[in-house]
């Protein structure tokens, strides 16, 4: 059985990419010869370590007092994005850099400028940032930062321009306040019109890296259903619980070797047999021995759970207060309980009952109690006792980020937003506690957005109805469906209830693309699609709903919010309002099971997100981006993502040819 605890700590891997190395930055050689006395020195060194700035024998100087150019700033932000992309994933839906890999013939993105050429160092970074901005804020969003057909890449960048870029890392609701917002995060200082010095930029990057290391935007958004209940990240999953120096005793050596074996996944039956001997001996580190024994993949989970408790017993016996260690030991119990509870829900209560004896003992020290309570609350939630958990978490919500997040999240789940806000209002995070401070700010923003839900739902509903009521329009889109890439144009005539799709698609198993051509007749609920291999027109019914996303597509926005618990967020940028929609998978599974889908019952929905781009002047939807993952019973898996661009002005004239209706091959 794979330890869950390992996967829990995986989140840390991505963060550690941003954590500066242990390399002695302060002492020894500096990366540049002109920063020694500069106030931004440490930020610059950190930037070099993170790969934000080029250094080396060919780059002797940093020029911290020079103005940073627009292009330089964009390159820095592009590099920073590698580390910060997870932070804004809920708003971009961009996974890694998958968006750059495109099949042949698909439109490559390009820049709306005449003075940034393909074959220059600044081109790819600028294009990447432009693509991310497009995704976040709508077509040609970069024009809102640098308007016109010239980007003037070598011109110094101002605070305000920089802020409009940096704002992508916040959940900023309105681009008009970009500068105020970025200043309030403390990333840049001075006046709107000030030029950003290269040293300032390094400092901004340094501050943003710290920001990325904290909780992400929309801390209460659980779009994949895996975030809550929240427990702390664990940095070192397999510590030794003691320090050993050479020369080691035979027993110490056995213990250290066993821990190393488990850490490198080279453990065997022998590893655990040796540990068992230590457990029966007078070896002092019984905490560690029992902890390691609980990792035995060969023994039943119940036995591992016993070992996990024995480790806590040993901790109590040691009579030394180490809340960190106790937290890990409890995490271990929690981890095993999760595995047990996977198959039998009642196990959560059993583990809780068993733990209650211990909890009394830890009440003596608040730090110890908190490190335990954070897991006990999570177990209560898993066991369905939300009220108990809330009462528990409220007690230390002002000190523990996890307690605060769990309190807020489960109050919201219960529809008790006011109580959630009261908890937050009572908080007074210390200035030195950057995580709590950031969380406080993020949560306040999020509560504001939650109150805004009805207005957003009404806006989106209005624009979607407009789309429904349009007589004719054209959609140009690109999509990836279970590995197949599609590029298509869809002509729609609502009045005649007909539509046509033409384009091409490419299978990952094939070297060449295939034609895509189909007509749909809404009156007869028939779709005629052309099969190039067989050169025939196939008829399909369209009144049958095969996939979950088809079913959801037909659900009205108000019902999506009410019945499916969809969350909405609106951002205004330039001329567009962008509404992002997340629908929790658990609700989709529950509600979709009441209808019959062609693909069968939905088993799991890891992701279901939409983004609608609305032209503020006309209230028309100009673009729609989506990302769905659906798993059906029988393990059918559909991953579907794409972007549609709507054009209401194009002249859509077509009819369904008689030959097509008759199935005559062309």
């Amino acid at each position: 059985m794979q330890k869950l605890i390992r996967t829990i700590s995986c989140g840390l891997l991505t963060l550690s990419l941003l954590t500066p190395g242990v390399a002695s930055a302060a002492g020894g050689l500096l990366p540049y010869n002109d920063i020694n006395k500069h106030w931004a020195r440490n930020a610059i060194i950190q930037g070099v370590q993170l790969g934000l700035f080029e250094a080396g024998p060919n780059v002797p100087k940093f020029y911290p007092n020079r103005d940073m150019t627009r292009a330089e700033f964009l390159v820095m932000i592009d590099r920073l994005y590698y580390g910060g992309q997870y932070q804004i994933y809920p708003l971009t839906f961009l996974s890694e850099h998958s968006e750059w890999a495109r099949a042949e013939g698909f439109q490559e993105p390009y820049l709306p400028y005449k003075d940034v050429d393909r074959l220059t160092w600044m081109y790819k970074p600028t294009l990447r940032i432009s693509t991310i901005l497009d995704r976040l804020y709508g077509p040609n969003a970069i024009q809102y930062i640098f308007p016109g057909e010239m980007m003037k890449p070598n011109q110094p960048i101002t605070n305000e321009e920089a802020a409009k870029i940096l704002q992508m890392f916040t959940m900023s609701p309105d681009s008009k306040n970009a500068w105020e917002e970025v200043r309030s995060w403390g990333w840049l200082e001075g006046e709107k019109t000030d030029r950003v010095k290269r040293g300032d930029a390094a400092v901004a990057a340094d501050r943003m890296v710290n920001y990325f290391l904290q909780d992400g935007i929309m801390p209460l958004l659980d779009y994949d259903g895996k975030k809550f209940p929240m427990v702390p990240d664990i940095e070192e999953v397999l510590p030794l619980f003691a320090t050993y120096v050479d020369p080691k005793t035979t027993e110490e050596q056995i213990y250290v070797d066993a821990a190393a074996a488990i850490r490198s996944r080279n453990d065997s039956e022998e590893t655990f047999a040796q540990l068992r001997k230590l457990a029966d001996s007078s070896f002092p580190n019984q905490v560690g021995v029992h902890y390691l024994l609980s990792w035995n993949p060969e023994t039943p989970l119940e036995t591992n759970l016993d070992e996990a408790f024995l480790a806590i017993d040993a901790y109590l016996e040691d009579r030394i207060i180490l809340p960190g260690t106790l937290g890990l030991l409890t995490a271990n119990v929690y981890d095993i309980a999760l595995q047990l509870g996977n198959t039998d829900q009642s196990q959560y209560q059993k583990v809780l009952d068993r733990f209650s004896v211990y909890e009394q003992k830890f009440k003596r020290n608040p730090k110890e109690w908190e490190s335990v309570a954070v897991y006990l609350g999570a177990l209560e939630i898993r066991g369905g006792q939300i009220d108990l958990a809330l009462a528990r978490y409220k007690q230390f919500a002002d000190r523990s980020p996890e307690a605060l997040l769990n309190t807020s999240y489960y109050y919201l789940q219960e529809g008790r937003i006011q109580e959630a806000e009261e908890v937050l209002a009572a908080m007074k995070p210390k200035a030195s506690d950057s995580r709590m401070k950031q969380l406080d700010k993020m949560l306040r923003q999020e509560f504001a957005s939650l109150k805004d839900q009805p207005a957003i739902i009404s806006d989106l509903g209005y624009s979607l109805r407009q789309l429904d009521n349009a007589d004719t329009y054209q959609v140009k889109g690109e999509a990836v469906l279970s590995g197949l890439t599609f590029s298509y144009t869809q002509d729609i005539n609502k009045e005649k209830q007909i539509s046509r799709i033409s384009g091409f698609y490419q299978s990952p198993q094939k070297l060449i693309s295939d034609k895509l051509l189909s007509y749909t007749d809404g009156k007869t609920n028939t779709q005629y699609s052309y099969d190039t291999d067989r050169q025939t027109w196939d008829k399909n019914r369209t009144d049958k709903v095969d996939f979950l996303h088809e079913w959801v597509g037909a659900v009205k926005v108000t019902d999506r919010a009410k019945e499916l618990h969809a969350r909405y967020y609106k951002q205004s940028y330039g001329k567009y309002d962008v509404i992002t929609e997340w629908i929790p998978g658990s609700m989709l599974v529950e509600k979709s099971n009441k209808v019959t889908l062609g693909q069968g019952k939905v088993k799991d929905v890891p992701l279901f997100m939409n983004k609608y781009y609305i032209d503020r002047a006309s209230d028309q939807i100009v673009k729609h981006t989506w990302r769905y993952e659906e798993i059906y019973e029988g393990d059918g898996y559909v991953a579907y993502s794409g972007t549609d661009n709507y054009d209401f002005t194009s002249n859509v004239v077509f009819s369904i040819p008689d030959d097509v209706r008759k199935g005559v091959a062309p």
Partner: protein
């Protein structure tokens, strides 16, 4: 609204799907892979019967040739299964090894495609093909020319073993180790010179300047030659860039050459881009190079056997802003034709030279399971004006046959008015740039100095001279006062102002 989901029903992935395990040691796996790829993707949409027949015919021929066996190719055999059975049967009867059978069958199938660009590569051939595109070679680092039956070192590659030795441009190659090259053809000489990286040879050369033989010992090395070269013509503000191949560095090198030229001479009044004998390379490089000439525009249309037509656009480029002449000839193929066609259709460049090769198809190299590969034609392309290139070639705007005269004509059309032409080591030097012409510019005959007719004709803009061989120079020196001949240390230099 139902959209593309219809297509998805067939391809809903199963999380539990396990790929079928390929039976071990399946003898005709490679043949089958090629069969499937060709059937599924080749531009010509061949029928199974055609491939099966092609494969069996070659095996039958070879069996007759090698072992005098009579294998009848049956009209009935038209599926993969039948081919497989027949191969097994014939292999047993003929006692051939499996690899031989595969090679014959694959050759047979590909030969039916009537497509010289679909090729089966062994691992070594694949490596050779790739280094060719990247302008990479193993050798000593010089280029040769055959002149008056002498094999002469025409050029020494910088940073090569030859450059580090005492070899000089103009040396005549006499011996490789103990093998004499005197009277040998170019191909024979090449065969003696080539060898694996790290191997050594002793070369004997004759140096006309000191009338002595020299010996050097050289080690063959792996070299990457520049894809692009460039310099300014000494008269007029015209730049010259030649591109040998569209490898992965091609675009960057052309970019840098252009930048160099613009730095030396501002502003440039024109550019000559030499794509003669450039057999092509990567499409991406062609597109990047096009972006150095145009801000934005259609590069080409591509079609495949399914009737899908896609457009490839150049975006975020830069208009070059000066007239461009592209030199083309029968060796200008593929990506070179693509670039030439696009720049011409957008009125950025005019083509000077002879009709291009006519390779308007695109191939992909498909790795096969055991390290070999198949280069297969998947697409045909057309220029932005839908001009067909395949099997047709591009007709130049200015048709000029002679290699040197092509340069002269290009410069003429760029309004170059002052000229200086001479011979150097067999090259024809035109306004300071040497071109490796096959025939020298001048020929000393008993009745006087003669000059390449075509070069003189295009230089003077006098079609009455004709384009054939050599004509006596003297009458034209008289007729055109601006045409002057200087002879210094045996070097003839012709100057002209038009």
């Amino acid at each position: 609204m139902k959209r593309i989901s219809q297509w998805a029903i067939a391809i809903v992935l199963l999380l539990t799907t396990v790929l079928p395990v390929q039976a071990a040691e399946y003898p005709y796996e490679e043949t089958e892979e090629v069969f499937l790829h060709v059937m599924e993707s080749h531009l010509s949409k061949p029928a199974a019967k055609q491939l099966v027949k092609g494969a069996l015919e070659v095996v039958s021929e070879q069996a007759k040739l090698k072992k005098q066996l009579q294998f009848e190719v049956s009209e009935e055999d038209d599926t993969w299964d039948e081919l497989e059975l027949r191969l097994a049967e014939w292999q047993k009867k003929g006692g051939f090894d499996t690899q031989t059978m595969n090679t014959w069958a694959i050759d047979g199938m590909i030969s039916t495609l009537n497509d010289p660009h679909s090729v089966f590569f062994t691992q070594d051939e694949l490596r050779l093909f790739q280094s060719d595109v990247e302008n990479q070679f193993v050798g000593f680092g010089f280029r040769l020319r055959l002149q008056n039956d002498h094999i002469i070192i025409r050029e020494i590659v910088p940073n090569s073993p030859a450059a580090a030795s005492s070899l000089q441009r103009g040396d005549q190659l006499i011996k490789v180790n103990e093998t004499s090259l005197v009277g040998k053809t170019f191909e024979e000489a090449y065969a003696y010179l080539k060898g694996n990286e790290g191997t050594e040879a002793v070369l004997t050369v004759y140096r006309p300047s000191d009338k002595r033989e020299h010996q050097v010992k050289l080690k063959r090395a792996f070299m990457t030659l520049p894809e692009a070269e460039g310099q300014m013509f000494t008269k007029g503000a015209v730049g010259y860039i030649s591109l040998e191949t569209f490898g992965s560095e091609g675009a960057i090198q052309v970019r840098d050459k252009l930048a160099d030229l613009s730095r030396v001479q501002k502003p440039l009044s024109g550019l000559v881009l030499d794509l003669r004998d450039n057999g092509g390379g990567y499409l991406a490089t062609a597109r990047d190079i096009a972006s150095l000439f145009m801000e934005e525009g259609l590069l080409m249309y591509t079609t495949n056997r399914n009737g899908v037509e896609v457009e490839t656009w150049v975006r975020n480029g830069q208009d070059i802003g000066i007239p461009v002449r592209i030199l083309v000839n029968g060796g200008t193929a593929s990506a070179s034709e693509l670039l030439s066609g696009a720049l011409r259709d957008h009125s950025i460049a005019k083509l000077v030279g002879t009709k291009t090769f006519g390779k308007g198809s695109a191939q992909q190299v498909i790795p096969l399971s055991d390290g070999d590969a198949l280069k297969l034609t998947l697409n045909e392309y057309f220029t932005p004006k839908h001009t067909v290139v395949n099997h047709v070639g591009l007709q130049p705007d200015m048709v000029v046959e002679d290699y040197g005269a092509q340069v002269v004509e290009a410069l003429h059309s760029l309004n170059v008015r002052t000229w200086e032409l001479s011979d150097a080591e067999g090259d024809t030097v035109i306004n300071g740039i040497p071109f490796p012409t096959v025939d020298p510019l001048f020929k000393q005959m008993p009745q006087g100095l003669q000059i390449r007719a075509a070069v003189l004709s295009h230089l003077l803009g006098d079609p009455s001279i004709g384009e054939k061989d050599y004509v006596a120079l003297a009458p034209y020196l008289k007729k055109y006062p601006a045409l002057k001949l200087q002879t210094k240390n045996g070097v003839n230099t012709l100057t002209f102002t038009s």
